[in-house]
Amino acid sequence: MAKVKEITRKLEEIQKKIKAEIPWEPVGPTPMPEIPDLRNWDMRLLKTYAPFYAPFCDLCCFCTYGKCDLTETRRGGCGIDIATQQARWVLLACLMGCSAHAAHGGHILEFLIEKYGPDKKIDLGGSINIEAPHIRTVVGLKPETLGDLVIAIEYVFKEITHLLDSTAMGQEGSYLDYESKALHAGMLDHVGMEVADIAQIVGFNYPTSVADTPLIDLGWAAVDKSKPVILFVGHNPATSTVVIDYLRENNLYDQVEVCGVCCTALEASRYSDRAKVVGPFSRQLFFIRSGIADVIMTDEQCIRTDMPIEASKAGSALIATLDKAMYGLEDASEMDTEEIVKQMIEDKKHFAILDPRKAAEVAAKVAMEIAPQRRKEWLTEEEARELSQKCNDCGMCEQVCPNLFNIGAGIAEVAKGKFDLIREQFNLCVGCGKCEAECPRKLPIFKIMQIAASKETWKVRAGRGPIMDTEIRTVGAPITLGTIPGVVAIVGCSNFPDIRDIAEMVDEFAKRKYIVVVSGCSAMVAGMWKDADGKTVYEKYPPNFDMGGVVNVGSCVANSHITGAAIKIANIFAALPLRGNYEVMADYVLNRVGAVGIAWGAYSQKAASIATGCNRLGIPVILGPHSSKYRRLYLSRKEEDDWRVMDARKREIVDTVEPAPEHLAYVCETKEKAMVMIPKLCIRRNDTPQGRAIKLNHYISLHKKFMGGGLPEDIHLFVRRDPDIPLVYKKEVREYLQKIGWQPREPVGLPTLIGTYPSKVPVDAVIH
């Protein structure tokens, strides 16, 4: 803990907040860490995984001294240089993301405490004792009630304020310190997400302590458009749960169809397995423009900012239900319900209604009233062909496409009555609508693309929340020894180079007996593919957190359960105390837990924040090509970097040579390259010979599959001794090693970074 805490009353206050007197574990060195408390850990990480900046803009335009040109060696009016400016942007992005989740958590807590009171017990079922690994590790608190979660979220709020303060003009001047702050924000994000999801599970009775959650209907064809349709868009389930309650209580649930886009859909389906999941964020605008939704209810995060315009165009009624996004609409929270319904039907007026109960009643009444009068038919191929005739192939649509494809060519084919190309392109479309906005002939491109949208339905497994302690006990040893080759977390948003990539990656790694974990929009699109037997990955693979399982933890905020599982391995399997003991947990994960995150379609600031939180915890993340626009990666230089660790058993520093893991934040251009990087980034220094051989077997075989045969050119860095070489490639690898003059080296007994940098944590602390 920072020195300042020792000489003030701060430590005493922290101990009071975290109820330090309850001795469930000794309090570690960093309960409720502030900005400087984990800085040395960050700097150690950043020494090996140096920030790699790709400026998205050459300028700073934050203050009235600017615009300041930061090219070449120029500094801005405040003295900032281009690297530090990028790091400041990264911190701001992480803070936006962290705030979104934390505010979500804070709102849900308020909502539930209003309903149940602060003493409502946290009970995640018989298989989960470590209910909140992040809160326990970071905050140092074992939360027992909703009221305890308030302590955790208030800590996050406070830290966010300090971090945001540092981005004001004329403050931090070091890119490394900005990175340390970004890592701090990322860590806080996982606490905020955990607060949100635990509160939701407790307050809404979501599934918990169960793997085999229901299979939910997925796809817009799953929505019964003959009924009045209420669509939820966003993330926060306070609204959707109340709407479902209202429909149930009034015997209307059979008459009204309830569905969602983006994470709020996953939340609704955790509450009721009859709620339909339309699809990911990238399908939002398509679905809204289809007009199938009679009433659209927005909550927060990942909702289009032009929703009132789009709702009006589609003839749908819109209710904004949370203060985060009120769109300039009249706040009708205190207006008479019947009057709101009347104005929405007769005047086609949209409203903000912040009282969920009132919003639910209005939504149900308006949907039932307007649905019979609305046309909800898909465009026919003939209609699409006719609309496409107006295209003059000007190319403007291609120039503005963030996924860099030529939709104009697809439209030109439709005009000829050919639909194959546009069906192919629909898989590439990220749903931004820029093409249509740019079209000088005002072609309704999104409407035309309706003919490309599959009318097929799929299945997605309902989010199951935390990984169970019982599962951790089973997989802890094989993961840390390497005999389960890795945990592959395919998570996040839908800015995919190709929507089909996700299911392909899930299938490849589940087949190879990795543990595959999914969340958010990636969890949905993983289900949008069927094998030859007509099965989705959720039907093809078991739902257990075990080798070959495919586990959907839930929405964005459920990502905290994936990183939480890594902490649980250290705590449950290795019996290392976690309370206020972040460095030890992160060091364990970095050196021993072969986990990698893949945010293939990351687009939001939330994804930046989640990924950065993974990085501080020692989990590498692979990003898709669009994510180069996040401006920063954490890359090593393989043979040229510092791979020394402390062997805690021998108390000596050892140069392991092996870049394991090689990078912390990495962008791949193609899914083929990503699938080669995944097994490599699961390699850890702690692997046993058997485990290492299994991991190298996958690395070599995927390299051969996608890189045209031959061995990976860096294979020698990961072979410590002959038993590390996979049996099937023994001869080939031995020949290669002999050719390049490779020498065997001893595996490290107990690898740790503790002891290689200034830290208050003693080396003894990592011995279990």
Binding site: C68, T71, S628, G708, E713
Partner: protein
């Protein structure tokens, strides 16, 4: 050439733009003048063809004509193996850029860092970001692109060719000029 307003502080657009070059002879001269050029090959070279000839084939002809070492990114090496060509190095695009920005890096031939890096076949968003890294953090080298569109963050770029025929003509002329100058 971009025009910068006199009171640039108010309206600066933020692009230190690439020099646009349409003359293949000028491109060939720049490549041949370089002491240690490098050709970075991206996966779009495997997807696109001009008149039935894959872009990777043009790229390999350029490398051969100018005797430029190659760096295969993503899965390009697989196709090169099929064509019977071994790249001089394998790095993914962020890795080669990370190495290039270090002035003390010894380059793919271990003879010193490169002074001209030619990019061909990287998707434009990632390519532009990579070029931005080198623009800001690698003043010791120049960058060039061979893709169909203008890349402002490079030092030298082709224009936005409206038609594939124009691009094809440029690439063929470049290969001819490099062969002549060899």
């Amino acid at each position: 050439m971009s025009v910068i307003p006199y009171h640039r502080v108010n309206v600066l657009t933020g692009i230190k733009s690439a020099r646009l070059i349409e003359d293949a002879q000028e491109y060939a001269d720049l490549i041949q003048k370089a002491k240690r050029p490098l050709l970075v090959l991206g996966p779009l070279l495997l997807k696109r063809s001009l008149d039935g000839k894959l872009l990777i084939e043009y790229a390999l002809e350029i490398a051969k004509a100018a005797n430029i070492p190659t760096c295969a990114t993503a899965q390009v090496r697989a196709k090169m193996a099929e064509l019977g060509v071994k790249p001089d190095s394998f790095y993914d695009v962020v890795e080669i850029i990370n190495a290039l920005k270090d002035p003390n890096w010894r380059g793919v031939k271990k003879e010193g860092n490169h002074d001209l890096v030619v990019f061909f076949g990287i998707r434009s968003d990632l390519g532009e970001q990579g070029l931005s890294v080198l623009k800001h953090f690698a003043p010791h080298l120049k960058t060039m692109t061979l893709c169909k569109y203008y890349f402002p963050n490079a030092n030298y770029s082709l224009p936005n060719f409206r038609k594939d025929e124009q691009w094809k003509a440029f690439l063929e002329s470049l290969i001819d000029n490099l062969k002549k100058g060899a």
